[in-house]
Symmetry: C2
Subunit: 384 residues, 2 copies
Amino acid sequence: MDNKLMLMIPGPTPVPEKVLLAQAKHPIGHRSGEFSEIMAEVTANLKWLHQTQNDLLVLSASGTGAMEAGIINFLSPGDRVLVGSNGKFGDRWAQISQAFGLDTHIITAEWGKPLDANAFKQALEADTEKAIKAVIITHSETSTGVLNPLEDINAHVKAHGEALIVVDAVTSLGAYDLPIDELGLDVVGSGSQKGYMIPPGLGFVSVSAKAWQAYEQATLPKFYLDLGKYRKAAAKNSNPFTPPISLVFALQTALQMMKAEGLERIFARHARQKQATRAAMRAMGQPLFASDEAASPAVTAVMPQQVEAEQVRSVMKKRFDIALAGGQDHLKGQIFRIGHLGFISDRDILTVIGALEATFLDLGCDGFTPGAGIAAASEILTAG
Amino acid sequence: MDNKLMLMIPGPTPVPEKVLLAQAKHPIGHRSGEFSEIMAEVTANLKWLHQTQNDLLVLSASGTGAMEAGIINFLSPGDRVLVGSNGKFGDRWAQISQAFGLDTHIITAEWGKPLDANAFKQALEADTEKAIKAVIITHSETSTGVLNPLEDINAHVKAHGEALIVVDAVTSLGAYDLPIDELGLDVVGSGSQKGYMIPPGLGFVSVSAKAWQAYEQATLPKFYLDLGKYRKAAAKNSNPFTPPISLVFALQTALQMMKAEGLERIFARHARQKQATRAAMRAMGQPLFASDEAASPAVTAVMPQQVEAEQVRSVMKKRFDIALAGGQDHLKGQIFRIGHLGFISDRDILTVIGALEATFLDLGCDGFTPGAGIAAASEILTAG
């Protein structure tokens, strides 16, 4: 059956019909008053979603472009940075730091385990000369389904006093309570195809006053991703370069939907769906890759027993037209990942679990009572 | 009357209905076989449109991002470059070159006049040490409606033998015969919201074998715009970072339409519409900003007599809901610009000229016989 794909990957995530159709509106001039009004509305609503009064800049770029902007605008060649890495995206920020000639100190943790906040504490306390200019971490590590202890690491950065904290919130923003101003996060990057419920193509960066001070001193070369240009244009509800107009239309509609739902309900929905997914996997005897304490609100990674991860993905796709994500890099073939991020209803969670039950049974998994996954998920989804 | 906007600006350009609707298809996974097939088709068709067998890379970026990629991937700090500048975009490439620490020699011409190929000849012939690493020029200067003498400048670059030629073809590609391989153009950048008939958000860069040799030596820092990563992914019909899927769907449909029309007819249509627009302006006594020999196929700039340029734009918008572009930088208020680029039919040209006639008359221009504009345009449009 054609045209029945169900996306349960951690990006691109499902897009509501009215957001899809918003893209189909004919473009208008990006220097028109009408477009400025849309930029003003969208920026105000993004600030609401990001819980910040900081500058909130919209780039024509992927999440990686947003994160690169978040790094190169505030640093100079040779600057010392601490990068946390326990997955593909932490690795990527380390690669960016190295590509731009930063003195990159990497604090690693095993893939599937959270970063150790104490390792950051020690490194920051040892830095009595205040040479560390930034701490760069991934909040929700999409490749492993791990949520890193941002609050704890941030507290140590604040105790250090000098370093900026630069956060990849690509799969946590819009899924998890991340009060940027309350936490004092200096630079937060994210991408549109995640919690924002729209297709890929827009990157977002929020920038604190402290980060803007660092910007004034930073000498890494930049032009297209020079956030100063975006700030100047944003002050006039405009863009330094032609923005992806159809995606901005989509964002306008999606943010209106998110405001109608409300932050508390959005975060509660993601938490509930994460718990239901995890409970169902446990009830079906399938090991979760991340611990409960470090589980991402956006994606659940499973290291399956009795079956191959790629077999599960293959049957889910062929038999039920549900796309799950596989493992990346050395985890390829070791895990599969269920996205529960963005425009996902409780019904979707029951659907994917029902299909996983059928798939496990089809593949000969006999370690669970048929129906156990749905029973466990239902209990959580109906508890509220 | 709402929802009747007619875009006659040089980008974003009008988008066909089926291209608009292609964006509204639900995203699919960007690592899926289905998406790889689309990337393969789109890349093959882009190579057809660009008349090249060079690598053709698709970025999630505006045209400026594509041009930055076209500059920073092939050069090192301190490298000498010649930049042609006779408008806002030439200025921008000079700014990028300077931002990245290149030894930037700028050959200027007055805004509204084409670059002087002889000035490039002299600079290149004087460079007996072959220190010039690249010549960077804008083909169609969108800000003034001038088409620069690319073929002549390119011949001098070829005679030099060492320098790469890097071309901004943002408003010439898809509007003008630009045979990249026949001319041996090393790096050509463009953007989706122009001749490609889709909304903004995608940038394109073609890269020659000679440019890839330069890439191996180039030391400017890069990551998000590192074209080596795009080449590696493109070899597998994939993308290094999440691509704007809905815009790729749009591009697929638009390129199918362009193939059905055929290159010769596309170029002939743009040439005819340019001539008709210019003839109509002349017939209405309105001075053209660029000469016939240097007229862009994409945009006609008019420096109006008896009326203010901004008055013309204002009446055209308020009375007829037609968006024309204004002047940029020091030309603000001095000129208006009519876009005739991409999905523009002969009917659209008659429409905009008819509305301009009415506008000129409304504003008290009495230097022409009413109907003269349409008469002049009709003669050209029906001559074929």
